[in-house]
Amino acid sequence: MPQITEIAKTGSQRELEMYFGPQHLGMVGNFSITLKVEGDRILKATANPGYLHRGFEKLMEYRTWIQNFPIVCRINLVEPDHMEMIYAMGVEKLAGIEVPERADYVRSIYLELARVGSHLFGLWAYANMLGFDTVAQWAMYHRDLVLDLFEELTGGRVYHIYIWPGGVRRDFPKGFKDKIVKTLHSIGGCVPDYDDTFFNNRLFYDRAHGIGKLSQEQAKSLGAVGQVLRATGMKYDIRRVEPYAAYDKVPWDVPTREDGDAYSRIWVVRDEMIESVHMIFKLLDAMPEGSVYNRIPNPFKWKIPPGEAYVRCESSRGELGLYMVSNGEDKPYRVHFRTPSYSHGLTILEKVLESESVADVGNIMISLYVVAPEIDR
């Protein structure tokens, strides 16, 4: 773009500042970006979070350990399950609670179902934004089938509050295993259709290839995790590098791509979804019998010994962490979530938007898998 840089150097009057979101149609979620543009080329992007800042971390300091569960799952509405998991892991670590083996398997299966549901939601957003409305509708329908499973298991469709310190709330109901298998088979049977209409479609390639490119060095220095990092070739997955629940009990693979652009990121999402489904089948086969819950002390009088903990798990967006401090009271002293969208939506988004086209802002943002409430908390 030699002309544009020349004009920028000479201080042309053609630079324009414009707002992208929160009302813009290309924006997913309550988030906005201020763009400084020259023609349709972006010179500088500034992310503006805060539309959903509810001060959850402060609010949690006023509530008992157990009362915080309904709050944590609202941090990320697309996949509240990993939020429950990370909070339960933090409480278990501080209080020294063990989890029965069967509960580990139930948790893993439940979290992988959540990952499939969340990726289908992400696929809906991405396909919708690119104009593949049919694929978007399929993805939303298939996500609904996963939500039906959650409804039967937990009673809630979106917010489940199923994972508790010490295990899970209840065991699988009768015949639930078969239902999981049946639902996943009916979704998996549509993979060829998805491939034909979307993933192998030339239009998708043309729109996404080379867009929002990030080298591995850049990704590492900007703190990338999840698909954003795996799309640059690194098999970095918390489930693999620091296994929790039952992820070290069955063999599975970490899908990666090399190019680091939007195209690679969406392909990683697709491969990961398929890998998750295979993993669920393996976990269902290997699941032992037994109890799914270890008793915890009376939640109304529960005081956790002083200490601090940092726990992490792999949500469908990347490394999800929780730093928690207890001072020996019945409430947390300090809670701080390390959410994957935080680096992706602020540091990385601002970086990769530079010199891209205005038409690709939504494309890049959704391919980075940014969920605004996770940033604001």
């Binding site: 805060g50 001060g55 402060k58 609010l59 970095y236 590098v241 730093y323 680096s343 540091t347």
Partner: protein
């Protein structure tokens, strides 16, 4: 890994307190002046992923503790060596009435929004930060809102109860 790192840190820097919390967790407390140098040393010795910059307000001690949580990325894209599983908490305490600390953006670029957030919510000033402007909030606060002496419920009552109802 953890014991050799402990020796190295204690020989290289003054006033460094290292405690091994468990096999994969280690806490390093440093005075605020040397936090930057220790962080750069740790980055160069393999802790190349800054997972989180957090902050705890210890009101009774009159101190604010800034915590940098460091982990490692994979070295060759596929393998994660056992010694890389170590998590490191780098902690430094600053005075509550005049909290100042040097920004670490030159070492870890992704610290930028974290420092902005801590500045806004805890009132810690980061020297050398290029844009220390509010990240989330839109109102002015006398006390930074995530400090322990900021009472959320009282603030809500004082601020929003004085707004008259629509029909009045």
């Amino acid at each position: 890994m953890s014991s050799s790192l402990k020796d190295k840190l204690q020989s290289m820097f003054n006033n460094v307190q290292v405690s091994v919390l468990e096999e994969t967790r280690m806490a390093v407390s440093v005075p605020p002046g040397s936090a930057f140098a220790v962080l750069r040393y740790l980055r160069d010795s393999g802790f190349d992923h800054l997972a989180l910059v957090s902050c705890v307000d210890w009101q009774e001690e009159g101190e604010i503790e800034v915590v940098y949580i460091l982990t490692s990325y994979m070295e060759n894209n596929t393998e994660y060596a056992p010694e890389q599983k170590l998590h490191l908490f780098l902690k430094t305490k600053v005075q509550r009435d005049k909290p100042e600390l040097k920004s670490v953006i030159d070492i870890f670029q992704n610290a930028e929004p974290y420092e902005r957030e801590i500045h806004e919510l805890f009132g810690v000033h980061f020297e050398g930060h290029p844009r220390l402007i509010p990240l989330f909030l839109e109102r002015e606060y006398k006390i930074p809102p995530f400090r322990k002496d900021f009472d959320t419920r009282k603030y809500v009552k004082d601020t929003f109860d004085s707004i008259p109802l629509v029909e009045d």
